[in-house]
């Protein structure tokens, strides 16, 4: 059997021009640097392409922002005037060039709907989303880590099985269903101890209004923690079964020290990818929770912007989300490389995203990534 646990990726094609120069510098620079630079460039390319796709897509949306803003009562010539004022009558390429130029000079334009600068509008919403994300992370990550390690150490015990089966339930039931149930239990039908709608006061930062964060955080944490929990459990079990743990045991190293010094640090490396995945999901996909709780986050804003065909706002939000996703992926991969000795010192990193596939496999099957013959 040939087991290729981590970098079973593609053999990179022959290095292109800039990479060749980097190769010459390899003597002095860390080995992962060419890989990192390549990934960075590719990430920038991804952002560019997505901005272009979104621009094209929003322009292709049926209906017309000017008409939607002015409503059905507006006569056609009034709509034409507004269309001209918004620059919507000009060729697509010109509009994109203008937009890109504006963005490069740090200006995201004005919202068509409320005529507030997009940057200003998004800043508040992103701050709210970030607060919610961090709150979810603060609840879900420690919970998943502690429970995952605990369950791995008591593998197949009654507690392990009980948690595993209840976790499957939360993993399977769609997040918005969990949200509706929480609202019914904690704010409307059974108890009324928590606000049903997260009506944040915009003059205060979101973290100063914790009562509004509880239910959305709980909803998202319940759906997210399950994935992470299973990942940690699986990778911890694998670490405990590994040869170096067996070797350490033979050498008479105390069990406690084996767990905390050897097993846990190694088990956490796949969890980095899990954390990145969680951030990605929360960053762009908390729309349903935001709608249920009327939480003024970025998902709600984007949903409304699409409905209103508020093009500058859609483009601004998607741009920031894409950059965020690319940065998160890159950071997760870089951390994985730096924390994995074999990858850190490798002469050449072949996988595009070392560790990602391993994490995905741990998720799916509870086993590391292997290619069997």
């Amino acid at each position: 059997m040939s087991s290729v646990p981590l970098n079973a990726g593609a053999p990179s094609p022959a290095s292109a021009g800039p990479l060749a120069t980097l190769k010459a510098l390899r003597g002095r620079l860390p080995a992962w640097l060419p890989w990192f630079v390549g990934r960075l460039l590719s990430g920038i390319g991804v952002v560019l392409v997505i901005s272009f796709i979104v621009f094209g897509a929003t322009q292709a949306l049926p209906s017309d922002p000017a008409r939607i803003i002015l409503g059905p009562e507006a006569p056609e010539h009034t709509v034409d005037t507004l269309r001209r004022q918004l620059g919507l009558d000009r060729p697509l390429v010109l509009q994109y060039a203008d937009w890109a130029q504006q963005v490069l000079s740090g200006n995201l334009g004005r919202s068509i709907d409320s005529s507030v600068p997009v940057g200003e509008l998004m800043a508040g919403r992103f701050a709210n989303s970030l607060t919610l994300t961090l709150a979810v992370a603060a609840v879900a990550f420690p919970l998943a880590l502690v429970l995952g390690i605990f369950m791995a150490l008591r593998r197949d015990s009654l507690a392990d099985r009980a948690v595993l089966s209840s976790v499957v339930l939360f993993k399977a039931v769609p997040g918005f269903v969990i949200g509706i149930c929480l609202v019914m239990i904690f704010s409307t039908s059974v108890f009324s101890i928590l606000p049903a709608a997260s009506l944040l006061d915009p003059s205060l930062p979101a973290w100063r209004q914790p009562q509004y964060l509880v239910l959305p955080t709980a909803t998202l944490a319940l759906s997210v923690a399950t994935y992470l929990l299973r990942l940690v459990r699986a990778s911890m079990i694998e670490a405990m079964d590994s040869e170096y743990v067996t070797a350490a045991r033979l050498r008479g190293v105390p069990e406690r020290r084996i767990i905390w010094r050897h097993a846990v640090p190694n088990a956490l490396i796949p969890a980095i990818q899990g954390v990145a995945m969680t951030f990605r999901v929360l960053f762009g996909g908390a729309v349903l929770a935001e709608v249920i709780f009327s939480y003024p986050g970025i998902g709600n804003t984007l949903n409304a912007a699409i409905e209103m065909r508020d093009l500058p706002l859609i483009q601004g939000i998607v741009l920031v989300i894409t950059v965020g996703v690319v940065v998160i992926n890159l950071a997760a991969d870089l951390i994985t490389v730096l924390l994995t000795p074999r990858l850190r010192t490798a002469t050449r990193i072949r996988a595009r995203s070392p560790g990602l596939r391993n994490a995905a496999s741990l998720w799916r099957t509870g086993k590391s990534w292997r290619v069997s013959v």
């Binding site: 039908s189 996703v325 290619v371 069997s372």
Partner: protein, 280 residues
Amino acid sequence: MSAHASSLRTVLSARQVRFGLVLTLAVVGFALFGPLFAPHAHTDLVGITYGRPTAGAPLGYDYIGHDVWSRVLAGGVSVVWMSLAAAAIALAAGTALGLLAAFARRRVDQAIVWFTDVFMAFPDLILVLLIVSMLGRDHWIIVLTVAVAFAPGVVRLSRGIALGVVNQEFVEAAEMMGYPRSRILFREILPSILTPLLVHLGIMLTWAVGMLSGLAFLGYGVAPPAADWGLMINENRAGLLIQPAAVFGPVLLIALFALGTNLLAEGVGRVTSRIEERKS
């Protein structure tokens, strides 16, 4: 072949797999045959708004006076076929692209991988919202959109496995001996990626149920008067407190379906990886 049959038997003997399979089949059966037993057409207005359950209507009436039981019976077909179709299309398209990438290498491979990067950086729900608002909400458009959102994951998965196989000596040997590529593909590669892909199919099915019902919930999915479990949750949410059955019926069925597919996929994944370990 007999090896495959025996591993199938092993898979089916696992308790979780059997439970997941029974649950999934039960919900699918309910969805497929339910419409035959519906006392009313799902569009018939037979009761008062948010009427309480009675003897003739075990789940009461909904926001406009439809019989909830009839709609629950009729509302599973779309959930089942749409999630199955979305997952299957994503699987087929993704596998094809992934294998192409693994075989073609170089430019084509780079291009495909890079485009999966692009799609993966695109948050799923945003992608779907954009496409659905652009092209409308016909069932097949929604299905294709969800498939597009899922396909990049399949591309990654199948390409990775295929590369692992392609790089092995016997494939190189076969290539050198002049065996046609298609033969290598079907004889050597497909069998080894079949199991992980099937596991992934199960997982995508769960995601698809969540995503499709979420879309219906946001108002971007199946449109009334069609009966659809996700849509029904949304329609009757306002009456949650006076007529909870209209919401809980569909919620329960969606949860059971998602649970069944999830248990099945996970169980199969766990058992097959155990089989593989034993083989090695």
